[in-house]
């Protein structure tokens, strides 16, 4: 079986060039769209994520190989199987991504990607260091179980990641209507990164926005309402280590302090859930806003 390259390796130089272009755009149009320390942190998140990938990559390959031995049918490499895999992988990503926002254990890892108050191309590289603890690779295993070769799944996963890079920008307003109708775009993904109550926990799509439209999680961007980016409780400073681990630390603290019967809620409940109702979840914030 031919070994496939990691497409992200080839895309990284393009990522760097596009970030420089966007910085020049920001310098001319809106200098506050970038902030040096925030940019450095986002990029260090990305660098650390690569290191974590190397450290835990063997574990992932082992898991994929184990599942591959139990695959249901042998799907060949053909144009139709690549196309089918790309679509199914994006559907699997949608499911995972939705869970990553609704289950605190998964959110503890994914929160890293959302913790910047800026929204620019460097934010796209703000990736988690702790994805392996949040089992963020598991959602692709059913594809291998189905019969897609692990190498193909890794490759398509890389393409999905590359697609999602360019949508992290405020430099692009709207794409043509037909494109906005089917694909995930900067406009749709700005909504996803927003903390305005109207936008909380919406637009989970990776490549195709149709999943959100099919499963009721789509909200369009409203031009009249300026977007505020980040997380419900914004990080107070630029401490990188705290930024990486803060939600995990919060989980441990809550597990220690919580009454016995409530402990699982702090692990598997939605972010912001508390046994005494003293905190707010996205749902409670939105409910108050609707009133």
């Amino acid at each position: 079986m031919d070994k496939l390259p990691n497409p992200v390796d080839f895309a990284v130089p393009l990522f760097i060039v596009l970030i420089v272009f966007e910085m020049i755009w920001a310098k001319r149009r809106a200098p506050e769209k970038y902030e040096p320390q925030d940019t450095l942190n986002s990029l260090l998140f990305g660098f650390g994520s690569s290191v974590a990938g190397l450290l835990f990559g063997g574990m992932l390959i082992g898991a994929f190989a184990a599942v591959d031995r139990m695959h249901l049918v042998a799907i060949p490499r053909a144009w139709w199987s690549w196309a089918l895999l790309f679509v199914l992988d994006d559907l699997a990503y949608y499911v995972f991504h939705r869970l990553a926002h609704r289950v605190r254990w998964f959110w503890a890892s994914h929160v890293n990607h959302h913790s910047s108050q800026h929204y620019n191309l460097s934010t796209a590289l703000r990736q988690t260091w702790t994805g392996v603890f949040a089992l963020s690779f598991v959602y692709r295993l059913p594809l291998v179980m189905l019969g897609f070769q692990p190498e193909m799944v890794f490759f398509v996963g890389g393409l999905n990641l590359i697609y999602q890079f360019w949508i992290h920008t405020e430099a692009i307003g709207r794409m043509p209507r037909w494109f906005e109708a089917v694909m995930n775009t900067p406009s749709h993904h700005r909504v996803h990164h927003a903390v305005n109550p109207r936008y909380l926990d919406r637009n989970y799509a990776g490549v195709f926005i149709i999943w959100d439209k099919m499963f009721g999680s789509f909200t369009p961007e409203v031009d009249a309402e300026p977007i505020r980016y980040g997380i419900v409780k914004q990080l107070g400073n630029f401490n990188l280590a705290w930024g990486v681990f803060h939600e995990w630390i919060g989980i441990v603290r809550d597990l220690i302090r919580a009454p016995f019967g409530s402990k699982l809620g702090y692990l598997f409940g939605p972010p912001g859930w508390s046994h005494d109702g003293s905190r707010e979840t996205s749902d409670t914030i939105r409910a108050r806003w609707v009133e």
Partner: protein, 144 residues
């Protein structure tokens, strides 16, 4: 074979780190981020409302430099706003509070790991606000 593979991986990591640091430095060199301050009381109210999802400030004390602010609502709740890069971060002030008043300078430490102590230059209002912070509703104290 393994050695050359490891060398390749290490080379990629070093190149990535150099690119990361270079981009961070470029953003600094281009002076991106600008000089963001809290403009006035209305701006502080808006930040508190947006950051704390509906906090309706009735009283505002602005740091003279515009870097931070203290706001209070009708229930006597206080919130502290601080600049963070080109944005702002707000926190509800909950007892116990560690504060220090030095003439016009009021320093507050909320005891949160990611929220550094903030020193506000409140001019003549410092004493008034320091006094107000001693009477924050006790139900705001963190539970269990």
């Amino acid at each position: 074979m393994i050695t050359s593979h490891l060398m390749g991986v290490a080379g990629k990591l070093v190149a990535s780190l150099v690119a990361v640091l270079a981009l961070g430095q470029l953003a600094r060199w281009m002076a991106l981020g600008g000089d963001v301050r809290i403009r006035d009381a209305d701006h502080a109210r808006m930040i508190a409302r947006d950051s704390l999802f509906g906090f309706a400030a009735t009283d505002v004390a602005l740091d003279l430099g515009g870097y931070s602010a203290l706001v209070k609502d009708a229930q006597g709740r206080h919130a502290l706003i601080n600049t963070k890069g080109a944005h702002f971060v707000a926190r509800l002030v909950k007892p116990p509070i560690e504060g220090r008043l030095d003439r016009a300078l009021l320093t507050l430490d909320l005891g949160e790991p990611d929220f550094d102590p903030v020193t506000l230059n409140l001019g003549e209002k410092a004493q008034y606000w320091a006094s107000g912070l001693r009477h924050i509703p006790s139900e705001l104290a963190p539970s269990g």
